[in-house]
């Protein structure tokens, strides 16, 4: 018995299953379950016959051992008698022993068998389970397949040419896996090829969900309905098809591992590959979500783009020209600069002072420290709300306090704080600084802890007083920390957003770049928003660069 005959038999069966049955049952009404039952019965019958044939007629594939002339099985090329290992390239051909083919049960727990099962499941699901619904009936893949060929009814809208890829790739997959099943020495190759072919079938789904959306073709209204609620057959086919495409990993993984363990080049490759394997996923995510978008914003800032449903159209530098003539933009820039100047002076000094105090022995110092840290865990919106309530003109804490002290009269035109455009921005910065002090303090405390006590002692021995000690020893030693704090403060002040958005929405002269960008985003002026973002980025890149340079220097010294 020749193998090729088996192979052709299998392929023929698959062809019959795939193409003939739906055409047969197409005429007989629209109930897919008739078709499904018939197809399942046919498939089962075919499968049973196929397996029976495979089981009884596949010859034992073996070779005689060159040392002891015993028989060696193809699937395990080690001589059972003398332990001689045949070359891995050992290609089994059926040999006759004593004029008769010996038989060996097939290995049913391999990738090709898995693929064959998946093919069968996919085929049945595709042909006979509901693919789409409408109000009147359900349509299975078989119905649609007929339409993909003839295009003679309204259903043709549902049956793009790509639908043909599914049965076609299934046919080839089935054939390949049978081939792999009957010739174990090629089973790995068969499995990989099966996976590649299955990708072709998956193209239908990719096309269905992503690509066909972009074309100008007007789909019937219920096409979208079907898209939102596809039938069981659609879902099963999609999943099993994907499984089919991935199933060869079962083979490829161990094979690769074996190759690497054996060959020297494999071992070297393996050693070199390890870090890249670790980096593969994180770096891919990082590139797609962080690095690429950063660059893309530059392009977007040169386009007009009116929202997610539109596509950006190139207009050159118009936004930038408009930007620098714009009053609101200049106001935002000015406010950011104010924010920045206040941020690198006030909270930094305060934080340093607190850190110096807390660096000494203080009973219960931990609790004091905690109260300064505590604003750090509050979210922007919470801080904004707390301070809004504080600034409330009629009832807020601040005016009540001032009223109690007799400074102002709360009923007679009290200061408006965040609603007074002269001071509003400073009120918001105060709230932000409230949180920042704790942060600065943490960093300085860590910096102080790192200072070698011997340096301080040396200073004390030389008779330095506290001020001199700070001025000439502590502060210079803290310089690296200070640099970092300044850089972080600057970047934080450039990306300030939460407080402004919630406290004033950028009114009362408190516009900042980040909020301006959000406003433009909400007005569907995406390109303009991008140009604001680019300006913001360009300013902060200077400081990011400083920070990077510092890290780089540390790194080179390391």
């Amino acid at each position: 018995m020749d193998f090729d005959i088996l192979l052709y038999w299998g392929v023929t069966w698959v062809i019959v299953g795939a193409f003939v049955t739906p055409f047969l049952f197409h005429q007989k009404g629209r109930d897919p379950w008739n078709g499904a039952l018939a197809g399942a019965a046919l498939g089962a019958l075919g499968g049973i016959i196929l397996l029976a044939v495979l089981w009884y007629f596949v010859p034992f594939r073996q070779k005689s051992c060159p040392v002891c002339a015993g028989t060696v099985r193809a699937v395990d090329p080690v001589c059972q008698h003398c332990g001689y290992e045949l070359a891995p390239s050992f290609v089994a051909r059926p040999v006759s022993v004593g004029g008769q083919y010996s038989r060996e049960p097939l290995d049913f727990f391999n990738a090709n068998f898995l693929a064959l099962v998946l093919c069968t499941v996919t085929l049945i699901a595709f042909l006979y389970s509901p693919w789409f619904f409408d109000d009147n009936a359900t349509y299975n893949g078989g119905n649609l397949l007929v339409q993909a060929v003839f295009k003679d009814s309204f259903l043709a809208d549902f049956a793009p040419d790509t639908l043909l890829l599914i049965p076609l790739s299934l046919l080839i997959c089935g054939g390949l896996s049978i081939w792999g099943l009957v010739s174990p020495s090629r089973s790995g190759l068969a499995s990989v090829l099966t996976s590649v072919v299955a990708l072709g079938g998956l193209y239908y789904f990719i096309d269905f969900f992503y690509i066909s959306k972009g074309s100008n073709y007007q789909f019937p209204q219920w096409y979208d309905l079907a898209k939102d609620d596809p039938g069981r057959g659609f879902n099963i086919t999609m999943v099993t098809m994907a499984a089919l495409a991935l199933h060869s990993l079962v083979v490829v993984g161990p094979a690769l591992r074996r190759w690497m363990a054996r060959s020297q080049r494999g071992a070297r490759l393996r050693r070199n590959m390890v870090p890249y394997l670790f980096l593969l996923l994180p770096l891919a995510i990082y590139l797609v979500w962080i690095i690429a978008p950063t660059g893309y914003t530059f392009y977007l800032s040169l386009t007009r783009w009116a929202g997610a449903n539109e596509s950006p159209s190139y207009i050159g530098f118009d936004h930038y020209e408009h930007l620098f003539g714009n009053r609101v933009f200049r106001e935002a820039l000015g406010n950011n600069v104010r924010w920045l100047i206040i941020f690198i002076t006030v909270p930094t000094t305060l934080g340093l002072a607190m850190a110096l105090i807390f660096n000494t022995e203080i009973r219960g110092g931990r609790w004091f420290k905690v109260s300064f840290y505590s604003p750090l865990v509050l979210s922007g919106p919470v801080i904004a709300l707390v301070w809004l309530w504080l600034y409330h003109p009629d009832k807020g804490l601040l005016n009540s306090l001032l009223d109690g002290l007799g400074v102002i009269n709360i009923n007679d035109n009290p200061p408006g704080w965040h609603s007074d455009s002269d001071v509003a921005i400073y009120c918001i910065i105060a709230a932000a600084a409230w949180r920042q002090v704790g942060y600065v303090m943490v960093l300085y405390l860590a910096g102080l802890k790192n200072i070698d006590p011997a340096m301080i002692d040396a200073g004390l021995v030389d008779g330095a007083n506290r001020v001199q000690l700070f001025r000439h020893i502590i502060f210079p030693l803290l310089a690296p920390v200070t640099t970092i704090i300044v850089v972080i403060s600057i970047i934080d002040s450039l990306r300030a957003f939460d407080l402004v958005q919630i406290m004033t929405q950028g009114n009362n002269g408190t516009e900042v770049l980040a909020n301006l960008m959000y406003q433009k985003f909400k007005d569907y002026e995406m390109g303009y928003a991008a140009s604001v973002a680019v300006v913001l980025f360009s300013i902060s890149i200077v400081f990011i660069g400083t920070y990077l340079w510092r890290t780089l220097k540390d790194e080179l010294e390391y």
């Binding site: 670790f278 797609v288 979500w289 203080i362 840290y373 919106p381 301070w387 309530w389 973002a533 920070y547």
Partner: protein, 297 residues
């Protein structure tokens, strides 16, 4: 003899006087110091104190009697109202749905890349490291619009998935930076010993490196939880549906809905901070450690 005795006595006395004086001085100094510290601390906590106080009162009470009056009665009605009516409960659940997967994702991914960057020599190591460091300092604004577009293209706009993705991705930079610097300090002999015993690289990472870097993982996790939980900007850009908003965006809505009912708003704000505050109370050490590590040294 007597002169010597006298002399010793006088020195002793003088010493005692000195001690006394310095003791008095130091007590005086201590008092000043503590008074100052307590004063400043109270001033610092005043906004929070006022918030807590307000949340237990009613607006009528505040309007009639003024802010600094003794409250007529304390009530927790505003908390229950914020929890149920103002949907703080759902917003908090949303926040957790976003934060937990993002946290797990970013820690796993970043520890992998940190391990590769810290323990292997290979081409591009330093370059990749600097890409991460540069990325962690990026202002969000430069990413917002492309990410918005990407989320739309992937059809995950207006889902929690989009937020989980972007938080995971953005925080990779910071986590990798901190973890990598920590992993460099782990002695290589441990890893080599495992390698000699035939342990696979991934198993070394999983069973040796990760347990060894637990302290820094905890620090990063604590800090990142706070950051992701407190994020407001991304939620604004990537979610449009009210039902899906995390607590930060929910609070902003609350302010619009109940703009005159300050006790309710402050109660909502307090409820919103509970998770992070609990975290801070119990994992304070790690939180501070994370901040310090993140600053570069």
């Amino acid at each position: 003899m007597t002169t010597i005795a006298q002399a010793t006595r006088t020195t002793k006395q003088r010493q005692q006087e000195d001690d006394l004086r310095s003791q008095i001085f130091s007590i005086f100094w201590q008092v000043i110091k503590y008074a100052f510290l307590i004063g400043v601390t109270l001033l610092w906590l005043l906004p929070l104190f006022a918030t807590v106080l307000t949340s237990f009162r009613t607006m009528d009470d505040i309007t009639v009697n003024g802010f600094w009056s003794i409250p007529e009665r304390f009530t927790v009605d505003k908390f229950t109202q914020a929890w149920d009516q103002a949907d703080i409960r759902r917003y908090l659940i949303n926040s957790f749905i976003i934060t937990i997967p993002a946290l797990v994702g970013m820690l796993f991914l970043s520890s992998m890349s940190a391990y590769a960057l810290a323990r292997y020599r290979f081409r591009g190591n330093r370059f990749i490291y600097f890409t991460y460091v540069a990325g962690m300092m990026l202002p969000f604004q430069i990413l917002l619009l492309p990410v918005f577009r990407l989320a739309n293209e992937l059809k995950i706009y207006n889902t929690h998935g989009a937020l989980i993705m972007i938080h995971t991705a953005f925080q990779l930079g910071f986590c990798t930076f901190v973890l990598r610097n920590f992993m460099r300090t782990v002695p290589g002999e441990i890893l080599d010993a495992a390698r000699v015993d035939g342990c696979g690289e991934f198993r070394i990472f999983l069973q040796i490196m990760l347990p060894l870097s637990l302290p820094s993982l905890a620090a990063v996790a604590t800090l990142e939880f706070t950051w992701v939980f407190n994020d407001y900007l991304w939620a604004l850009f990537l979610l449009s549906e009210q039902q899906l908003q995390p607590i930060t965006a929910g609070l902003a809505t609350l302010q619009g809905q109940y703009h005159a009912d300050w006790p309710l708003i402050t109660a909502g704000a307090l409820l919103a901070t509970l998770p992070t505050v609990f975290l801070f109370i119990f994992l304070q050490r790690y939180f501070i450690q994370g901040l310090t590590l993140g600053s570069g040294k």
